[in-house]
């Protein structure tokens, strides 16, 4: 099969014209480059161009040890850094058959759910910003800042954590952790109503997102969409429920599935997920078990020969790590199946035949993180 070099021709044909959005455009949240073929205001075709922030993380990881390469994964989807680290750690633990202490498991879930909250908050703010509402951005950062402060005290960093390591977590919780998380959750349960007042109920926001950008269920399945994008189209795909890890099976929470599939539904799914995350934190925060925060793992990790796969649910969908090991201290091949790459694939189908103005709203609710697409 011949692979076409350029799907959309560079020259305009009569009646149609081609515009570029990005790679540096305020509404693309990063260096995503879209070539769009238009007929008037109607979108005929979209072609994403990737590679502007390709760093070769998979290739670098092949020359680093299993422990060393984990810090790179925080730089893929930087808003789900904990989940990415967790995926790699779980894979190593699976390979070496290490039993993680209960305390470490509880800490991991707490951190991961806080991260999910922080990620959805930032998404909520920037979604408003994309549609011209500036104040939500500041409201979102108010809560997110508190979460980052909690991270800063325990993990030492705000964005690129490298906190979850094979065997457990890097260091123990800060003494104020429980107190601060409780205060945060208490405050956020009140503040989430402000989110509804500002954006959910806002007539302009509703008109721009409701009945716009449909992703049908069967298309979402065949494109491999995951996370809130797929769950808004009626697919049950929460890895935390389907393949529980780190003790999610013991917790009581519900998977948010809605089936309308438009932009507004994707928005609602994320708002509901924030409430579920708070519910999970509520269950765990008072009963963090005592004990070790890390199991003993040898300094140089050698996975037994074979193939390993581990998946986790990040804030944006399913992250899969696939490792082929030849028994050495570095992986023979490592492959990340990132959620944003698949979700980006949906964009060209969702946005087809809609107006160019709606493209921004569609991209906002897809919640793309470009470094995760390019790796």
């Amino acid at each position: 099969m011949e692979i076409p070099k350029q799907l959309i021709p560079l020259e305009d044909t009569p009646g149609e014209f081609v515009i570029n959005v990005g790679p540096q455009h305020p509404s693309t949240h990063g260096v995503l480059h879209l070539r769009i073929k238009l007929d008037g205001e109607k979108i005929l075709e979209i072609e994403p161009h990737l590679g502007y922030i390709h760093r070769g993380i998979e290739k670098i990881s092949e020359s680093l040890g299993y422990r060393q390469s984990i810090y790179l994964t925080s730089r893929m989807d930087y808003l789900s850094a904990h989940m990415n680290n967790q995926a790699c750690s779980l894979l190593v633990e699976k390979g070496l058959q290490i039993e993680v202490p209960d305390r470490a498991k509880a800490i991991r879930i707490l951190m991961v759910e806080l991260q999910r909250l922080a990620s959805h908050q930032l998404w909520w703010g920037s979604a408003g910003l994309d549609m011209g509402a500036v104040s939500p951005f500041f409201f979102a950062f108010r809560e997110r800042e508190q979460i980052l402060e909690i991270f800063e005290e325990t993990c030492g960093t705000r964005l690129t954590m490298n906190y979850i390591t094979p065997g457990g977590v890097m260091n123990d919780l800060h003494p104020d952790f429980v107190k601060k998380v409780k205060a945060l959750i208490k405050q956020f349960k009140v503040n989430i109503h402000e989110y509804d007042k500002l954006l959910t109920g806002n007539i302009i926001f509703q008109k721009r997102t409701q009945n716009v950008g449909f992703l049908p269920r069967d298309l979402a399945i065949s494109l491999g969409a995951s996370g809130p994008v797929a769950r808004a189209s009626g697919i049950s795909c929460d890895i935390r429920k389907l393949h529980p890890y780190d003790g999610y099976e013991k917790l009581d929470f519900s998977e948010i599935v809605m089936d309308k599939g438009d932009s507004f539904t994707r928005y609602l799914v994320r708002i509901e997920e924030m409430k579920q995350s708070m519910h999970i934190i509520d269950q765990l925060i008072d009963n963090i078990p005592e004990g070790d925060y890390r199991a003993r793992v040898k300094g140089i990790i050698r996975l037994p020969e074979g193939e390993y796969y581990q998946r986790v649910e990040t804030a944006r969908g399913e992250l899969g790590v696939f490792v082929v090991s030849d028994g050495n201290k570095t992986p023979y091949r490592i492959k990340y199946r990132t959620p944003n790459f698949s979700n980006l694939g949906a964009l060209q189908y969702i946005a087809k035949d809609s107006k160019i103005g709606d493209l921004v709203a569609i991209m906002a609710t897809l919640d793309l993180i470009i470094p995760d697409i390019d790796r």
Binding site: S135, E145, E152, L198, L199, N202, I203
Partner: protein
């Protein structure tokens, strides 16, 4: 008639939703106590940076200008970015044994990703992360730092 009523009630609810949002915005505008923004360079004295914040790697020196580094180079091998360069010299002790001692502990701050794996790897716990963060300099060369203080020695492990 019903359509007309629906038309006007939709206009009314639209204005109401805008008013709800605006009222919240005005509430925060008129309550300056709720402002959370910090003025960074002005508030440097009261700025709270947690103890655990990973700002830079330092070699721990005690009051006698002694450090714990035995120049085993574990940190250098663990670092994924080649940030650390350790050079050692071989010295002869009084009883004729050859012993490796630390010459220079070179740390390239510009290449560090603050992953704290060197800290984990050090068997002597000789290094730690410090919470300083104002690292900007005018020349890139200034980021390459020598961490062992001049004239510092290895901490004597023997109790006298």
């Amino acid at each position: 008639m019903k359509a007309l009523f629906r038309y006007f009630s939709s206009i009314f609810s639209a204005f109401k939703s805008l008013w709800t949002g605006m009222r919240l915005t005005f509430y925060y505008l008129s309550h300056p106590k709720t402002i959370l923004t910090q003025q960074y360079p002005e508030n440097r004295k009261t700025l709270y940076i947690p103890e655990a914040f990973k700002g830079e790697v330092v070699l721990i020196h005690d009051e006698n200008n002694e450090h714990g580094c035995t120049a085993c180079r574990m940190c250098e091998m663990t670092c994924p970015n080649g940030t650390i360069k350790i050079t050692s010299i071989t010295e002869e002790t009084e009883d004729g044994k050859k012993k490796k001692i630390l010459d220079e502990w070179i740390y390239n701050l510009g290449m560090c990703t603050f992953c704290a794996q060197c800290i984990e790897a050090c068997p002597q716990n000789a290094i730690k992360m410090q919470n300083t963060f104002e690292h900007s300099v005018y020349d890139r060369k200034e980021l390459i730092k020598k961490l062992n203080h001049p004239g510092s020695k290895l901490k004597s492990t023997k109790k006298i």
